[in-house]
């Protein structure tokens, strides 16, 4: 199993006195550029440490928010491509809905792949609902534009004989010929996220790596939907490395220390509701049927996650114990965390990539370093040796 260190690079000083909003409407006068610079440097130092001690790295971007300072993940990747040595660099995700120019995206990502000497994993997402406000992209038909954009990026990365033409309803180019071309052949691995079986099937047909977040012990049905369509297309089991799961991470030498860190990391989930209601449901993003349900329930129904024994919890308000029970957070001593992770992976029928949110909210640099170091020393070596439930599939890869 590979483990990716992830932080959203929060600007946590603005989390105090937030008046119910950390996103879209929060004025940027709430940010002190000097403090922001310190935080950026700190987060890059922590990623560098993660690289040195055996982690891979995950990054993302969000817009108009104090929860994530990466407004364009290309900047983050560009820096990491040069200052890290071994880690895979996973972007999850690069929001294609908010990028009107897929050829530019192909150029940026290919450049990062070359500078990093082939360490890029390209995770593509549509973009979260509220960020159609800052980007002003049309949320209607976003699905169709997402897949076409991805097709164009991959064609640009795999065409090596001079310019080609791409003129469609959505995108207009007559001379596509990107330099540099990607380091990895035929192109860097493609990842995406899902919360629906329909989308899981679509990713399975293409053999892309599929990640889920917050799905807890509801994850298995999504993985199985992927497996079914993968088998139908490729006539074999998908290897475990096609599955990824984002979990919050808090380890400690004692359980009490781990719980203290768990409370800090849980702030990531507890700040999720701090998006003004007006921005949560742009038209066309959710289906007409889901919109009818939302009107009937006067807003979005709370997201429910299931614990291992089938108890529903709300991950935005649940206790650390709830989050542990639901596989949303892995928290405890190294032995406990190892058991929680492998138990979860086996419940999913195999999972090859753990996306580990090892820092969030107000967690200090010292706590983050300790969280990473203890995990790297006591848990990571054992996870690298971990035998997936379906070893035959792993061996066949």
């Amino acid at each position: 199993m590979r483990v990716f260190h992830f932080t959203e690079q929060p600007y946590s000083p603005a989390w105090k006195d937030h008046n119910g909003t950390l996103r879209i409407t929060i004025p940027n006068k709430r940010q002190d550029p000097a403090l922001a610079a310190d935080l950026y440097h700190r987060y890059y130092d922590e990623w560098q440490l993660a690289d040195e001690i055996g982690f891979d790295i995950m990054v993302n971007e969000h817009h108009s928010t104090a929860t994530c300072m990466a407004a364009t993940v290309i900047v983050t990747l560009s820096i990491l491509a040069r200052i890290t040595k071994k880690a895979r660099l996973l972007v999850l995700g690069y929001p294609l809905a908010h990028r009107p120019d897929p050829v530019r995206a192909a150029e940026e990502l290919a450049t990062i792949d070359v500078v990093s000497r082939g360490r890029l994993n390209m995770g593509f997402v549509k973009g979260v609902p509220s960020e159609f406000a800052p980007s002003n992209a049309n949320p209607v038909a976003v699905e169709e534009r997402f897949w076409e954009s991805l097709d164009l990026i991959l064609k640009a990365m795999t065409s090596h004989d001079g310019p080609f033409n791409w003129e469609s309803e959505n995108f207009h180019y007559r001379q596509v010929n990107i330099w540099p071309r990607p380091f990895q052949q035929p192109h860097p691995p493609v990842w995406s996220t899902t919360g629906s079986k329909h989308n899981a099937q679509r990713l399975g047909e293409r053999g892309y790596t599929m990640a889920t977040l917050g799905t807890g012990y509801n994850t298995r049905p999504l993985y199985d939907a992927y497996r079914e369509s993968y088998r139908a297309k490729f006539h074999r089991e998908p290897p475990p490395d096609r599955f990824a799961y984002l979990g919050l991470m808090a380890v400690g030498t004692t359980e009490a220390e781990a719980r203290r860190r768990g409370e800090l990391v849980a702030d990531y989930l507890r700040t999720l509701p701090l998006t003004p209601a007006a921005f949560r449901n742009p038209p066309g993003y959710a289906s007409v049927q889901d919109n009818v349900r939302m009107i009937q329930s006067a807003g979005r129904p709370p997201i429910r996650s299931l614990t291992k024994d089938g108890r529903a919890i709300n991950m935005m308000t649940g206790s650390v114990q709830d989050l542990i029970d639901a596989g949303i957070m892995f928290c405890g001593t190294p032995d406990q965390v190892y058991d929680q992770i492998t138990d979860f992976a086996s419940s999913c029928g195999g999972m090859g990539n753990l996306l580990s949110m090892s820092h969030a909210g107000f967690m200090s640099h010292d706590d983050t370093v300790e969280n990473l170091s203890l995990f790297a020393k006591e848990v990571l070596p054992r996870l690298k040796e971990y035998r997936q439930p379906n070893e035959a599939a792993a061996a066949a890869e």
């Binding site: 406000a133 049309n138 209607v140 038909a141 921005f279 038209p283 919109n291 009107i295 329930s297």
Partner: protein, 264 residues
């Protein structure tokens, strides 16, 4: 091609167009606003007492299938011009509300040969202010409850619990919200080219506005009328963005008086 009374679907240039047809007399092409076609409300019947009302449901507002690459107001305007040809309608009065008013203006600047009169009611379609002035209220980044307060003057309409409406009405609301964004998301509810073409409208035009419209203010309507040489501006009192909902009698009276040529 002939039109049956009531609800029907006819094919125009390969597009299945849902229609509501009522009344008899001179033809009125009624173009519904961004909330869709209200078949049960009084406005259609009031107009149908004195005219043959032909009310198509714009693509994407009804059945989920959307023809080909339909995503601009011009796509709808050309479809309706094809409809007028297919039905061989003459001396048609076009009455467009909100986004339907934008479609009506887009039709009239293209080809008014089959048109007699034009009524634009609280219509979108143009931008008057400078780049840092938002002329048109942002209907998408607001909660449903807050939007009701901006849309309506009538307190009962504002306080209405939309969630309690029958499910088929909720489906129509949800489809209409998405369909309007399909056509009007960016540029937001206007076509930057339209204003410069409004001078082409030579037929008598009434620009009718809810006196308390807070989505597009009456001054927006006055500027709209000023850009059309043959237009005059009038208001409906005690009405917000949808005078046909809040003051249906007065709405119908002014519209009918104008299209029958009876107004002062």
């Amino acid at each position: 091609m002939n039109l049956a009374d009531g609800q029907s679907t006819i094919e125009v240039n390969g597009v299945a167009l849902e229609m509501e047809v009522r009344g008899s007399g001179k033809p009125v092409l009624f173009l519904h606003p961004e909330i869709g076609l209200d078949r049960a409300g009084p406005a259609l019947d009031l107009l149908a007492q004195h005219a043959r009302v032909i009310a198509p449901l714009a693509p994407a507002y009804g059945k989920p299938e959307v023809p080909g690459s339909f995503n601009t107001i011009d796509d709808i305007a050309y479809l309706y011009l094809d409809l007028l040809d297919a039905l061989d309608l003459r001396e048609v009065s076009v009455v467009g509300l909100g986004i339907g008013g934008w479609i009506a203006a887009a039709i009239a600047v293209k080809n008014a040969q089959r048109l007699k009169r034009l009524v634009l009611v609280d219509a979108f379609g143009v931008k008057h202010g400078d780049r840092e002035t938002r002329d048109i209220f942002d209907m998408y980044f607001v909660t449903d409850a807050d939007l009701q307060k901006v849309l309506y003057v009538d307190e009962q309409l504002v306080a209405r619990d939309v969630g309690k409406l029958p499910e088929d009405e909720l489906y129509a609301i949800a489809r209409a919200r998405e369909a309007t964004a399909r056509y009007g998301w960016r540029p937001y509810m206007h076509d930057p080219k339209l204003k410069g073409r409004l001078h082409r409208i030579k037929i008598p035009t009434l620009v009718l506005w809810g006196e308390e419209d807070r989505i597009v203010a009456p001054d927006y309507g006055r500027a709209y009328a000023a850009a059309i040489p043959s237009a005059r501006f009038a208001t409906v009192a005690r009405a917000g963005h949808f005078p046909h909902v809040e003051q249906p009698q007065e709405f119908a009276r002014q519209v009918l008086a104008f299209i029958e040529g009876k107004e002062a």
